[in-house]
Symmetry: C2
Subunit: 286 residues, 2 copies
DNA sequence: CGGTCGATTGAGGTAACTCAAGTGCGGTGG
DNA sequence: CCACCGCACTTGAGTTACCTCAATCGACCG
């Protein structure tokens, strides 16, 4: 089995050299969500098509010969390292098997902009298909276990297995739809609503993966949340405090507990101005 | 040939019934950009694969049997009509052959949000692949000539013609990349920069199609521009006036002339506050 | 000719940004 | 072990860019 370990380490080098903790120190936080029960043993270093389709959250085609296909290799990257860098040649997609990442790009200002926070089941690198070069970078926010999907191999498989081809198209389109949803949320929502929906969205995603949708750790900084939502980090911080005051959530540093999920979902704007009322309310409470 | 006309009219009905000029009266403006020379005769109602690939701006594969394939049918829709509606079953993509559209979706507020302004060479309906239902609607802002690309037919062709398959993947990915670019522009840009870049982007697209990139007509209302850029229609209007005062552009109603393209591209924010300075400057000029 | 709709412009309010100070935690080195 | 330092975060104060509300204007249409 040692040759497997070697191969994995070899592939891990892909982008490791460039993964200096340059922009906004990529935090070396412990790791993923609360429950770590399944992370004791190292993850299986290979995944077959069936597992890939399941992770992507699509119904697995009931075709026997799926199992015949040669499996896909994993790559393990540590927090702060890149799965792919901006400008890098595109040759494969990555499917997140475990861990938490951010995808970023550089705006014309030279500012880093967070595009997405991929986690288990999400696809990385889809935006590289067009120009054959990645316009964005994927940075691990925690140690990550990624399944490498060489694009040529994937599409040639899809040519033989129509169900797989459909899954590929649908997975790519899903990325596009999610981007549109983000665009809609960025416009015309107050900062409170943005942050509230962001938390609900995160909670839902954790829930779908079997983790607690009530209590989780934020893997990203306020800065990164702000970049993602189009807000300043101070506004994110203030808003989190306000939501906490409203008893909708409980925040302490990176730890978030959702108290009133329904309230978060329907929140449009804070009653009067809870942000300035904070100090006075604080005094009342004491 | 009359049966062709009949078929076209038949397919045009797809969504015509729902195309009431409901939201924000979809304007019955004359039509497209300035130069109308090529629109005298009705467009050819069929396009082959070669033409489709060319329109998509991809190198046409040098394979002879491309010409053998049965061609794709066109559909003509009038300004205000829908190519597809929200929630409608997905079964085909549309390639814009002529005309100008907007794609919109409904935010959680119930507000209409403009996602894109597709024009010649752009693909419609890609976001419908995922859930097999269109999450957005495509509304014609001028009379349009669309090429219908039944998705099943397209992908089965792609299975036989690898180059075509690549083009499909790349075209879909391109849509995604464009969405990301929009997201980047929405965050962290001032209203002036947003509007300026929007104009430059429009001008470039017209230029690439062989139209004038200096002088063109806006096909959409201020309202729609604002929705697209995340601004109020008043801010769009004011900003256009300000850009005009700075001698970067000339605007009269829907007519735009780019005077200083370089200046528009590099604009970050207006010198001091040109928006409030307007009235005083106006007086100085008189 | 009035009616409608898009566009312009003004006035005023406010949400969110910027700048800045202060806190708490974690890591490092004496 | 403790002191120091860095970094993420919190919180405050002041500013401003943009929104909202509202009036006016111009074009187009019946």
């Amino acid at each position: 089995m040692s040759y497997l370990r070697d191969m994995i380490n070899a592939t891990t080098e892909t982008c490791r050299d460039r993964s200096e903790p340059s922009i906004a120190g990529q935090l070396q936080t412990p790791i993923a969500p609360h429950n770590e029960s399944s992370c004791d043993q190292p993850p299986s270093p290979w995944s077959d098509l069936r597992e890939v389709c399941g992770l992507l959250n699509f119904k697995v085609p009931n075709q026997l010969h799926l199992a015949d296909e040669q499996p896909f290799q994993h790559t393990l990257i540590k927090a702060g390292q890149h799965a792919h860098c901006i400008g890098q040649q595109f040759d494969m997609l990555y499917l997140v098997h475990a861990g938490f990442l951010k995808t970023v790009t550089i705006s014309d200002h030279g500012q880093e902009v967070v595009l997405r926070f991929p986690m288990k089941g999400d696809l990385l690198g889809v935006d590289g298909i067009y120009s054959q070069h990645h316009p964005s970078a994927a940075v691990a926010l925690s140690d990550c276990d990624l399944i490498m999907l060489p694009f040529q191999k994937l599409t040639s498989l899809g040519r033989r297995i129509t169900e797989l081809e459909n899954i590929i198209y649908q997975a790519i389109s899903r990325d596009l739809v999610r981007g549109q949803l983000l665009t809609c949320s960025l416009n015309g929502l107050t900062a409170e609503a943005k942050v509230a929906r962001f938390l609900v969205s995160l909670a839902d995603r954790y829930g779908q993966l079997g983790y607690s949708s009530k209590s989780f750790n934020l893997q990203m900084t306020r800065q990164e949340i702000g970049s993602y939502l189009g807000l300043s980090l101070e506004t994110v911080s203030r808003t989190l405090s306000a939501l906490s005051l409203l008893n909708l959530i409980d925040v302490r540093r990176r730890t978030v507990d959702i108290i009133n999920a329904a309230g978060l979902k329907t929140l449009r704007r804070l009653p009067p101005s809870y942000l300035s009322a904070r100090s006075s309310m604080r005094k009342q409470l004491h």
